[in-house]
């Protein structure tokens, strides 16, 4: 499973927009504040680039719990914010007939009793607790997972993992790019050397880049 290119592009767009919006007070922030601002931008960008999924809604709801984030979110998301935060149809209660529920419970309990009788050791109970514990842990990890069913929880977790991978990937690339630019700015080396260092850092993408650069007129400033 791959994150699509359009998702990555939208992600980057929102991320940079978020950086720009939150960058007004960058000089005055401490490291921790900057880090949380960056993380907030990244999470919001990821959620808004993904569109409308259970975990994106959960994530945005969680982020908007704090008041100072809310205005930020509104700026980035615009109209989507209202659409994403209103409760979705997934939280509707499935209308259940009491009679049917009672009957099925009786059947289930009878079946369980019949099968439990011959075995003295409740190994199935132990096994079941293992799964339950892990399900609860996963519910806590995936945003908005508390209200999800077993299957949809896994589905959302899968989607969330793909988006997280794309997020990590993107941030790593951003980081290498920024660090490269920082290094070059500080060192004031010549153009070919900069190209060489850049090539070393990011592999094939940089090769493409240097090829393009060679066809261009020299950069003058």
């Amino acid at each position: 499973m791959q994150a699509t290119k359009s998702f990555e592009r939208a992600f980057l767009k929102h991320l940079l927009r978020g950086f720009r919006l939150s960058a007004v007070s960058y000089k005055s922030m401490s490291l921790q504040e900057r880090k949380s601002a960056i993380k907030l931008s990244a999470d919001v960008a990821m959620a808004s680039a993904r569109g409308s999924r259970k975990w994106t809604r959960g994530l945005i709801t969680k982020l908007s719990k704090e008041d100072d984030h809310r205005s930020f979110l509104r700026l980035i998301l615009g109209t989507e914010y209202e659409r994403l935060t209103k409760p979705c149809h997934g939280s509707w209660k499935i209308p259940r007939s009491k009679k049917i529920v009672r009957r099925s419970l009786r059947v289930c309990s009878r079946r369980k009793n019949n099968l439990r009788a011959p075995h003295g050791v409740k190994s199935s109970v132990l096994a079941r607790t293992l799964v339950e514990k892990r399900t609860h842990a996963l519910k806590r990890l995936v945003p908005g997972g508390e209200s999800l069913d077993g299957y949809s929880l896994l589905d959302e977790a899968l989607d969330y993992v793909i988006s997280l991978r794309a997020q990590v990937d993107l941030m790593q690339k951003l980081l290498t790019t920024f660090e490269a630019s920082k290094l070059s700015a500080l060192s004031k080396c010549t153009l070919p050397e900069r190209k060489a260092s850049f090539v070393g850092e990011a592999g094939i993408h940089q090769q493409k880049l240097t090829e393009k650069a060679q066809l261009r007129p020299k950069l003058t400033l």
Binding site: K35, K39, P118, L126, V161, V168, S181, A185, T220, L221
Partner: protein
């Protein structure tokens, strides 16, 4: 989590590693695979499950002592550390090739010879057992015990013969196991078996492992995000994000034209889907036509770092607003 369909692959594969039930139903296939693959002793490492199984091993052996199901107990006991004595005289250690040859011949479950003697399952069982014995008794060669992917199917088969009476179910089980030759088996519990404690326990433990894996992965990814954001924050003081962003979004088309400066449409992170050649870069810099090259990352930025930003920000602020409109 009722039906096991979606967990089939995971549980089938992971559960199988923990049990060493030999299922010689498909000797021919296994022999062929044996010729290619090495014959490995299956790992006795499925701690939790063999513990679960070992707890009831005595009962299982008791149950399985009824003729027609001794094979499951044999391998289960072989894997358990207690090393129970087998009614059929097999050694508790993992059998060698010779041992397997013996077993192949003497499987009470699948050998037609024993079926008349066995009175447990009655009429329908001899033809049922005759079916697999045709396939397995003909080449009495050593077979690998662990064909992990096929285990769940055969184990289900065995369990049915062990625990359940009705012939109808066994027939369907047999047809099912003979029918599927897939590389992996969907562990589909049938009627009356979904709540059978052994298969249930095995399925649940497999599910627990898969969930564990997912949880670890999600946690590691989240930690990575935290760490990366901290590093970005550390790199930040030297990079003014406000100016940087507007500079990026401007794409520098008009700027380049006015300054005679060549911005390279960089794709340092390969986001853009069209790898435009160097000569076509001028056209790339006109963003409104192509949405794919939305992010032009100026090479000048990398060269000259922050010195450009003030310039870029001042000139590109009006462009920025236009740009965002076209992009969005």
């Amino acid at each position: 989590m009722g039906s096991a369909g979606s967990y089939g692959v995971g549980t089938g594969n992971s559960g199988a590693y923990m049990t060493e039930i030999a299922e010689p139903v498909r000797f021919e296939d296994e022999i062929r695979s044996l010729i290619q693959a090495r014959f490995d002793a299956p790992p006795v490492s499925g701690g939790s499950f063999t513990a679960l199984l070992g707890l009831s091993a005595n009962q299982a052996v008791g149950l399985l002592h009824e003729p027609g199901a001794g094979e499951v107990s044999a391998s289960a006991a072989a894997s358990s550390p207690t090393g129970l004595g087998h009614p059929l005289g097999w050694s508790p250690t993992f059998p060698s090739n010779a041992g397997l040859a013996e077993r192949a011949g003497s499987f009470p479950v699948f050998a037609a010879v024993d079926s008349p003697a066995s009175s447990s399952d009655g009429g329908p069982s001899p033809p049922l057992k005759a079916e697999p014995s045709d396939s397995d008794s003909s080449p009495p060669l050593p077979v690998p015990i662990d064909k992990p992917r096929r285990r769940p199917a055969k184990r289900k088969d065995c369990e049915k013969q062990k625990a359940k009476g009705p012939a109808k179910k066994m027939k369907t089980a047999e047809e099912h196991t003979e029918g599927d030759q897939l590389p992996y088996v969907h562990v589909r519990a049938r009627r009356g078996q979904a709540t059978d404690s052994h298969s249930l326990a095995e399925r649940i433990t497999g599910t627990a492992l898969v969930l564990d894996e997912i949880i670890n992965h999600v946690q590691s990814l989240q930690r990575q995000v935290e760490f990366l954001s901290m590093r970005l924050a550390a790199v930040n003081p030297t990079i003014d994000f406000g100016g940087l962003d507007s500079f990026l979004m401007a794409e520098c088309g008009p700027l380049a034209a006015s300054n005679g400066r060549g911005e390279v449409a960089l794709d340092p992170v390969s986001w853009s889907s069209d790898p435009a050649p160097g000569t076509g870069l001028r056209t790339d810099l006109r963003p409104s036509q192509q949405s794919s090259t939305a992010w032009v990352y100026p090479y000048a930025l990398i060269n000259h770092g922050t010195s450009l930003f003030g310039y870029g920000a001042a000139n590109s602020v009006p462009l920025n607003s236009n740009q965002s409109k076209t992009d969005l």
